[in-house]
Symmetry: C2
Subunit: 337 residues, 2 copies
């Protein structure tokens, strides 16, 4: 009842941000470093698995907890928790994990109406292994999520949102990439802002040209990446060179630097903010997602660059203080965008 | 791989405890007291919901996390984490929640081979609402779990276990009740110990005669209950009268008293132990289940009554210090049965 009411309320308002991203349920278990070695997993990164490989890894993992995930979906959940109006476009299957994903986004007040896929791949899942050093190693079996096609896109939703936020993870498979490009063109025609997050350095080498093509076509206003990602994308020798090159191509360039904080470049302005100290880092899953949530929620309230960066680091600090990729709905009581 | 190997290892060993109980996935979300009132939910108890009612409540709940549950299954998970050899009999459906339940038990080393139900009800789930006072209010949609029939029972498994542990929640529906009675008779014929947990005071009035009939037939050696449950079962005016009456009928009577600890009666012996102080009670879900795990794990190591009660209170203290009904696999590093 409550979720429906809040859902209806969101429908009638102007949106701050609509995201296109993976619709994923996270399956999170602690593990030790030996487990990663035994299974040939590279700590801290994301890799894609097909269903048999995902099933084999799941069988080997310890008892887990399941929570809704997906990078851009986590960002939209964060924006809603911070009091913003957000919507999500992504594809689940018509199964129990799909129902969980749908419920959790709507319960947070995020508008989510992309039709579920029937009779095809199951809802995507991400097997997340958290080592004692709080690092997360992600193994994604994208399922229905990577079958997202242009006709699932509600074009009016994109036009109604101040910012369209696109997730780099979804750049690989053709259908979702076309959907994101289509959304970007609609947003551009409607005079909206387009944000893109690079998501994962391992993904970049094979997609560099395509992503740079999108940037060169003027379809990215705000670009989010970490140090590795921007260096790889710019094919630069170092971070300074990468930042100098990329900041000429986008209105706003945001580089996250983990424990070192984040930097933002906008025209001639360059602002650096430190990370918010966290006494007990439990699980770094969702740090980048919630940084983007804080940044975008503040941006939608008209805050200046430094404040947006600060809100980003505050939201990231909240999510790494707990297990799992989404903070509670009470995030807005602790962080004010 | 790991889970399979550990599973095979368990198969070849003598079992400490086999349990018959609900096979349930917990869907846990925080809520406030007003939410319970609005939805007419009585705090701290368990109620059964049919699928439409469960779906309506789920829609109204906040974003949740999913973890494997089921009272007796939690107890078996606890026994395995404490180094005991345990097995579980209960019925999931052939769906994603069923796969989660199965994986998590096996990953902890609990033997679980009951065939999944195909084409019928989905895997059971329990919508658990946790209020700020750490109380849990449970709303169970039992699904396939309550269709467990005698022919799903591996009789050899029951004969091989020192203790057969039966869950009172499963007493209501006819098929699982018959399955539990059948298992009790097999255990009795094989000279094994039979334990029964009363599970929930609200369930008792309608089942008093049946449960007392089982006790009077000599099919219960160890009886677990909390104060309300034993008073209702014995139809007594007060706890002392109930304890006096019931302790004459079973070899071992265990009464849990929440923050006041637990008492145990065995023949002429009566032992009371205090609860283990917990600085920050987060969620009381699983307290009784883990108490039984600690008690039974210690009993299987030949500990005397007082030690069994103490191990029970230690395991209960661990589970209420965290969110969710099962402690980590490292429970045995903190509690020694």
């Amino acid at each position: 009842m409550q979720a429906t009411a809040s859902h209806a309320r969101v429908n009638s308002r102007k949106l701050d941000v609509v995201a296109i991203g993976d619709a994923i349920v996270d399956v999170i278990a602690p593990c030790d470093d030996e487990f990663l070695e035994e299974h040939g997993l590279r700590k801290g990164v994301m890799q894609l698995l097909d269903m048999p490989a995902a099933e084999a890894l799941y069988e080997a993992m310890g008892a887990a907890r399941q929570t809704s995930g997906g990078s851009a979906a986590n960002t939209m959940a964060g924006i809603a928790a911070l009091g913003g109006e957000s919507a999500f476009v992504g594809q689940v299957a018509d199964d129990q994990f799909g129902a969980v994903f749908t419920h959790d986004l709507r319960a947070l007040g995020v508008r989510f109406d992309t039709p579920a896929l029937s009779g095809g791949d199951p809802t995507g899942r991400c097997l997340i292994l958290v080592t004692p050093d709080a690092q997360r190693t992600m193994n994604t079996c994208p399922g229905a999520s990577h079958k997202l096609a242009v006709d699932a896109l509600d074009e009016e939703l994109v036009r109604s949102a101040s910012i369209t936020f696109l997730e780099g993870y979804l750049w690989g498979p053709e259908a979702p990439r076309e959907t994101m490009l289509h959304a970007a063109r609609i947003a551009r025609d409607a005079g909206r802002t387009i944000a893109f997050t690079l998501s994962e350095s391992l993904c970049i080498p094979g997609r560099r040209q395509g992503v740079m093509g999108m940037i060169d076509a003027g379809l990215v206003d705000i670009l989010f990446g970490n140090e590795d990602e921007v260096v790889l994308l710019a094919s630069s020798a170092n971070l300074d060179e990468a930042v100098a090159g990329l900041s000429r191509k986008v209105s706003t360039l945001i580089v996250t630097q983990g424990a070192a904080g984040a930097i933002g470049l906008e025209g001639e302005a360059r602002v650096a903010v430190p990370a918010v100290p966290v006494a007990d880092v439990v699980d770094t899953t969702g740090a980048g997602d919630l940084f983007a949530a804080g940044f975008l929620a503040a941006r939608c309230r008209g805050r200046r660059l430094e404040q947006c960066l600060e809100t980003g680091t505050q939201a990231a600090a909240e999510v790494i203080s707990q297990f799992g990729a989404r903070p509670g709905a009470d995030l807005g009581q602790r962080v004010a965008p």
